[in-house]
């Protein structure tokens, strides 16, 4: 059957159906089904979130000051970002203002998350879609060294170094126990890197695995641990003590600040000298593989992030831009208002939930989360053994989030596109540089590779922001301001009897909003609409597809039994399923 979706995609489900379940190297549980035509080109795509925990239901009736901890457990990969959105939501509802230092520390922690999460995603969740590990065994370490030195001053680049890495890999492969690399798609013709580039990437896979644990120590200083650092409504709990008695036992003192500063330098260096050069090198070999655009460059959304002024969440204050672009018109940026009942809405007629009227969407302040696991008539298999989903009925635990009725793509590429469209140099210049280096047009951005590239550029942007936030913190401290928390409205007795709030963040994967209704000091309603809720959205009542499904369309598979290209495009979004359904 042929069908043109309201958002302009041509679907044809007549060809061979291929199922990928589980989709791996993502957070959480996801299933993907596609129909391939006779040339093994994807003509229909169905993405399904296959887990649900019910956090929104669990939050009801709890103390709003505790909500951040529950929300934080929505996801341990984008750890802390839900906590940030949550404390902002509660502060917004109750009118609580946070001190400058708290704002700076939160920004620093959020930027730390960007740097860490993007790095780990690139090397450990995404790289194997581009890098053939086994091919690295055939590389010439000398040539690898030459390649590495030609693109970066990073010191681990001698022929001996790569010989060692190769020997390590050799021993590993020769053990016959391939561990996480077992049953990979090694040798698939869609792998385009020469052995030397593969070897370099494998070396950096390992280096990044060892280095990433350093970055998060910034969370440990301010939040006590990572994953899942601690946050606080009204500021941060990490009191600062520079030279008063007992500073040694204080959360933040000179020693801890020095550690943070040192890690920032090392993070900038790693990202700029390893991540970005690798990204550029890999991209240069995949230039022709320009699939996976989908909604990118068409309908994109960002809520904005990094308030430069404490308690000011307006466009002017946000370092990361807010706005929406529709129908690919980069010349017009629409305002986004999270309190407007007509803007952000969620639909469930293709999701395993029920609404009284499923033809309509609901704004989160009126949101309903009521599970309803039913399979459509055309499902193949049984309730507990699904062979094929029926996408004409309910088929995912992800709700369909829509902005003014439209499916949107969110994430680093959307943010950079907005910054680009607004002409903001810090976003435009690195994009232009990358495109010039690779001799690619702007349109090349709106692809799988563009998504992956934008994430890398953003990691670098975030790492440099970390330095700037740290410097602001030090300037504030030098000026004698050491406050980290405002406790004027800590006690529930000071709260209004009825309050509604919305808090947002740009999580590593995109626009994140939390909505709350507080009644008699308890949570009456809590709703989260999460980046992967946007990107992984199933169809809406009109049949419009979400970003994952749109991006998969028209991609050819080199080997119809190996879903390498499907993984590649899905991974370019960095899907997080625990987030998406919560």
């Amino acid at each position: 059957m042929n069908f043109v979706t309201p958002n302009g995609f041509n679907l044809d489900d007549s060809g061979r159906r291929m199922v990928v379940d589980p989709v791996t190297r993502i957070e959480g549980h996801m299933r993907c089904e596609v129909n391939l035509d006779s040339n093994n080109v994807i003509r229909n795509a169905v993405s399904s979130g296959t887990m649900w925990r019910g956090l929104e239901i669990i939050l009801k009736g709890r103390d709003p000051r505790d909500a951040w901890a529950f929300c934080e457990r929505i996801c341990g990969v984008c750890t802390g970002t839900h906590a940030l959105a949550s404390v902002r939501t509660v502060e917004n509802a109750l009118g609580i203002k946070i001190p400058n230092n708290a704002n700076i520390i939160r920004n620093l922690m959020q930027a730390t998350l960007y740097a860490h999460d993007h790095l780990v995603h690139f090397y450990h969740l995404h790289a194997l879609d581009w890098v053939d590990v086994v091919s690295a065994l055939k590389a010439d370490p000398k040539a690898t060294s030459a390649l590495a030195q030609s693109i970066s001053p990073w010191p681990n680049s001698s022929p001996g170094y790569f010989t060692d890495v190769q020997a390590k890999l050799q021993r590993f492969v020769a053990s016959g126990q391939l561990g996480p690399f077992m049953n990979g798609y090694w040798g698939n013709p869609a792998y385009l890197l020469p052995p030397e580039a593969n070897l370099m990437a494998v070396a950096h896979y390992l280096e990044a695995l060892d280095f990433q644990r350093e970055i998060v120590k910034i969370h440990t200083v301010f939040g006590g641990k990572n994953p899942h650092p601690n946050w606080l409504v009204g500021g941060m709990a990490c009191a600062i003590n520079l030279d008063a008695p007992m500073a040694a036992g204080a959360p933040v003192n000179m020693v801890q600040l020095n550690l943070v500063s040192d890690i920032i330098d090392r993070t900038i260096k790693f990202i700029d000298e390893v991540y970005i050069p690798d990204l550029t090198a890999i991209a240069s070999f995949y230039k022709g593989w320009d699939f996976g655009g989908g909604l990118a460059g068409k309908n994109i959304l960002s809520y904005g992030e990094f308030p430069s002024k404490a308690n000011d969440y307006s466009n002017n204050s946000l370092l990361m831009p807010r706005g929406a672009i529709i129908n690919g018109n980069l010349n017009e940026i629409h305002d986004v208002d999270l309190t407007d009942p007509d803007q952000v809405q969620e639909f469930v007629d293709h999701s395993w939930y029920s609404y009284p009227d499923e033809a309509k969407g609901l704004h989160p302040w009126l949101g309903i989360t009521e599970p309803n696991f039913v399979l459509g008539e055309k499902t193949i298999g049984t309730k507990t053994n699904i062979k094929q989903l029926d996408e004409s009925a309910k088929y995912s635990f992800i709700k369909a989030a829509r902005w003014r009725g439209m499916a949107m793509e969110v994430g680093p590429l959307s943010r950079f596109t907005l910054g680009y469209a607004k002409g903001m140099a810090e976003f435009k210049d690195p994009v232009d540089k990358l495109l010039t280096d690779l001799k690619l047009p702007v349109a090349a951005l709106f692809t799988t590779l563009g998504r992956t590239a934008a994430r890398g550029l953003e990691a670098s942007w975030a790492a440099h922001q970390m330095r700037s936030f740290f410097n602001q913190l030090m300037a504030n401290l030098a000026a004698g301001d050491t406050a980290t928390a405002n406790t004027d409205m800590w006690e529930p007795s000071t709260w209004p009897a009825d309050a509604k709030g919305v808090g947002f963040a740009e999580a590593p994967r995109g626009a994140l909003g939390h909505w709350i209704h507080i009644k008699d000091t308890k949570i009456e309603l809590y709703q989260a609409v999460v980046p992967t809720t946007w990107n992984g959205s199933p169809r809406d009542p009109a049949g419009a597809v979400g970003a994952f499904e749109a991006a998969l369309l028209n991609t050819p598979l080199a080997d119809a039994n190996q879903p390498l290209e499907i993984l590649r495009t899905l991974h370019s979004f960095d899907p997080c399923l625990a987030c998406s359904t919560h």
């Binding site: 589980p22 009736g61 990969v77 020769a174 016959g176 390992l206 641990k225 994953p227 625990a578």
Partner: protein
């Protein structure tokens, strides 16, 4: 219990594989990897000598933060654990394969090494909707979990989810998520609770098993006593302030800046068994209390429903529709008793007065001193 010291070759022989087909298996493996035939010999050699312990790491309802914590390990480096110490044959978060090719491993490994692999579980199975709140390969996670557990040597429950239920099992537990020991009942289960557990505790448990070839000593609840034998409070560096009665009274006050005890801010360190105050987090940089926030008790059973996090006393009675601390409930009870006593005393006084009147004053009174 002790763990396998057999080589995989011995294992395969024990299962009836001939030397000939073993060698054939090795060359096929090499070919499957696109390697030169020479590799077949190295593979055969490796399999005849030192096997790495196969680990299947399954994910249920969770947030993947236990995996994230695991890769934070500095000693040993998680890369060394994954590449040198164990054979992480299945882990949906890191593995290269997906879909059918991934699922095949879950069938293959238990058949190939029955009773010789470790099942590590992050997250937990929901039981409502026939288990379909967590679907893997079109089927309920709980069924896959039981199937893979059936032939495992031992099971590791990573984190609060697998050990106790954690956030999805918090009231009202919409999916009926249960800790894994509710569905795996016939295997030794090592519980490594925490939300998430400390990275070095996770790799510490694994390296203990590999180094000493036995499971660590467990307490009555299945936790390794080496890491969960004491409370945060027992080794907290703020403990002298607790004993002195020097408490932080509100966020960012003088006490907070001096590192006083967070007891009055709701710290659950006195009731939480974990190694945070000793081993600390992320290579010893800090831990929740050192960073100024109380412990929320994240390695404890039921800790989400033992809030609120900022009160020393937990709320009780939520199931009954009331929510109050023991003191609030007790005060109401005592006030009611007091009121009852007062009313009763009043009525009794009236009765006594009325009763006395008609009585002739002859009855002598007993000693009342």
């Amino acid at each position: 219990m002790t763990l396998n010291t057999q080589t995989f070759y011995e294992l395969m022989r024990a299962q009836g594989t001939s030397r000939r087909s073993f060698l054939k298996f090795c060359s096929l493996t090499a070919a499957a990897l696109g390697l030169e035939p020479a590799y077949a010999n190295s593979i055969a050699y490796a399999m005849e000598t030192k096997p790495r312990l196969p680990v299947l790491w399954m994910h249920g309802l969770e947030c993947t933060c236990c995996s994230e914590s695991f890769i934070r390990s500095g000693n040993p480096l998680s890369s060394d654990v994954i590449l040198k110490m164990i054979s992480l044959d299945y882990d949906d978060t890191l593995m290269a394969a997906a879909g059918e090719q991934a699922e095949a491993i879950l069938d293959e490994i238990p058949k190939k090494y029955p009773g010789e692999y470790i099942l590590a579980v992050e997250g937990n199975p929901p039981l409502n909707e026939d288990g379909m709140y967590c679907i893997v390969g079109g089927q309920p996670f709980v069924e896959k979990l039981k199937a893979v557990a059936a032939n495992a040597k031992a099971v590791i429950a990573w984190g609060a989810c697998a050990s106790w239920g954690c956030v999805q099992a918090a009231r009202p537990n919409p999916t009926n998520a249960v800790p894994i020991d509710k569905v795996i009942t016939d295997k030794p289960i090592i519980k490594v609770p925490g939300c998430p557990p400390i990275a070095e505790v996770m790799t510490g448990v694994i390296s203990y098993i590999l180094t000493f070839n036995k499971l660590p000593e467990l307490d009555s609840r299945g936790r390794p006593v080496m890491f969960y034998g004491q409370r945060i409070h027992d080794k907290c560096y703020r403990r002298p302030h607790f004993d002195a009665g020097e408490f932080v009274q509100s966020w960012d006050d003088e006490g907070a800046r001096a590192g006083y005890c967070l007891y009055k801010m709701g710290c659950k360190g006195p009731t939480t068994y974990n190694a945070c105050s000793t081993i600390r987090w992320n290579g010893g940089v800090s831990f929740p209390i050192q960073a100024g926030h109380g412990c929320i008790g994240c390695s404890e059973d039921n800790f989400w429903d033992n809030g609120p996090f900022y009160k020393r006393l937990s709320y009780v009675g939520a199931g009954l529709g009331v929510e109050a601390t023991a003191d609030e409930i007790g005060l109401i009870g005592a006030a009611a008793a007091g009121a009852g006593v007062a009313v009763h005393a009043g009525l009794s006084a009236v009765k006594q007065y009325n009763r006395k009147k008609p009585e002739p004053p002859v009855a002598p009174k007993g000693d009342q001193s």
